[in-house]
Amino acid sequence: MFSRTIRKSLIGTRWAPVKTSTQSQRQAAAALATQSTPPASETNPKPFIKATTRPGSSPSHPRDIAKAKPQDRAQILPSYEDLRTQTFEPRAPAEPTTSTDAVIDSSVKQLLPHLRSQPPFFTTIHIHGRPYLVTVGDVIRLPFLMPGVEQGDLLRLNRASLIGSRDYTLKAGATKKGETPKYLDERLFTCRARVTGETQEPLRIKEKTKRRRRHVKHTKSRHKYTVLTVTELEIADAESIADLKELPLPSTLDPATRLQSLQA
């Protein structure tokens, strides 16, 4: 059941497919040197997480980064998949999916500045439907190897069900069993994580036995995992949420009562 869920979610959330080509290295490089033709954009693959491919290590030179858009950087350096096929074919950056609501509750608009004024924050981020409660600087060892990302990439995690500080908590809302899970409007917060590498587990040895066979088979496996570090967690300020449409307040609840109920 568990593995089926994982598989299902993997199928449901496609990653940016890597264009492979059989062009020789030299030809591709020559084509790159001119950079006359922009890469043909993919037919809208929808990944779960917005990934900005940046093979460099850190943005210590904002001007350099600003000059070279992520797309250009991907052109300059071949990806790991290119190494396998020995081509320099550039990848098109994935079109991100958004999780935005048409209207937000008016209490959100009123109380978000309160939340923002009380750092540090925590959030429950969902990756492939699994929740991870994190703060800035936390290391997440994902229970799988994330395809399509490389060490040093910066991901924007836009699925959060919960975000809060010591006294305030913003919740996405409860769901019933079988219902699609609810997430917070991604315009309300910014959460980024860096892919800091891949790791393995210690060798796992499983003893396979059958009845009355007097033979034990040892199967070995060693899984690989992606490791993320949460680099940024920020709440939107009053200006950036000013344009969002809000739901009218229910007459029974005034903001002060809501504040109390949220604080409790």
């Binding site: 290295q25 093979p55 290590s57 850190s58 210590s60 350096l77 071949p78 790991y80 290119d82 190494l83 396998r84 020995q86 540090p120 924050f121 925590f122 991870y132 409660l133 994190v134 703060t135 800035v136 600087g137 936390d138 290391v139 997440i140 060892r141 994902l142 229970p143 490389e150 060490q151 040093g152 809060g164 500080s165 010591r166 860096r194 800091t196 590498g197 891949e198 790791t199 393995q200 587990e201 210690p202 690989k224 490791v227 570090t229 949460v230 680099t231």
Partner: protein
């Protein structure tokens, strides 16, 4: 003296500001003659130049080691080194191994049960029963009865 200070050193959070690749050196050993180095030699010819170009932050060396199996040794910033024997492996298998070693942080492999590791204190604090409303266990029903009267 009113306030004294306690000496401390700030802790690293690699990736939060800058990200420093933890693998600092990869050493490749091969043999010109032996059959177990076939894939390794092919890897050095065809994959390594591009791999090295893609990973300029890692120092790489290639050394002959006649009449021995090929292997790769990765040295990490934390002082650890990992060695993987590459005998009889194909070039793409080697590429996978090498890439994994480059993306590793050099720590000893551990079985991890909790996905999140944190050095921060809990944001919401710790629950304290002394702060919550007083509960008198087993007396709730009596309270209700009294109210009804």
């Amino acid at each position: 003296m009113v306030v004294r200070a306690i000496h401390a050193v700030s802790k690293p959070q690699n990736g939060v500001g800058a990200f420093v690749v933890q693998c600092k050196k990869l050493e490749f050993y091969y043999c010109d003659w032996a059959g177990s180095s076939k894939g390794m030699n092919s890897f050095i010819r065809h994959q390594l130049p591009l791999f090295a170009q893609r990973n300029p932050q890692v120092e790489m060396t290639v050394t002959p080691r006649p009449r021995r199996h090929p292997f790769v040794r990765a040295s990490y910033v934390n002082g650890q080194a990992k060695v993987v024997c590459l005998r009889n492996l194909e070039k793409l298998q080697i590429l996978d191994k090498v890439r994994l070693m480059k993306s590793d942080n050099g720590e000893k492999l551990k079985r991890v049960n909790k996905p999140v590791t944190s050095i921060n204190d809990g944001v919401r604090g710790i629950f304290s029963h002394l702060h919550s409303n007083k509960l008198s266990i087993g007396l709730e029903g009596m309270e209700l009865k009294k109210k009804k009267k």
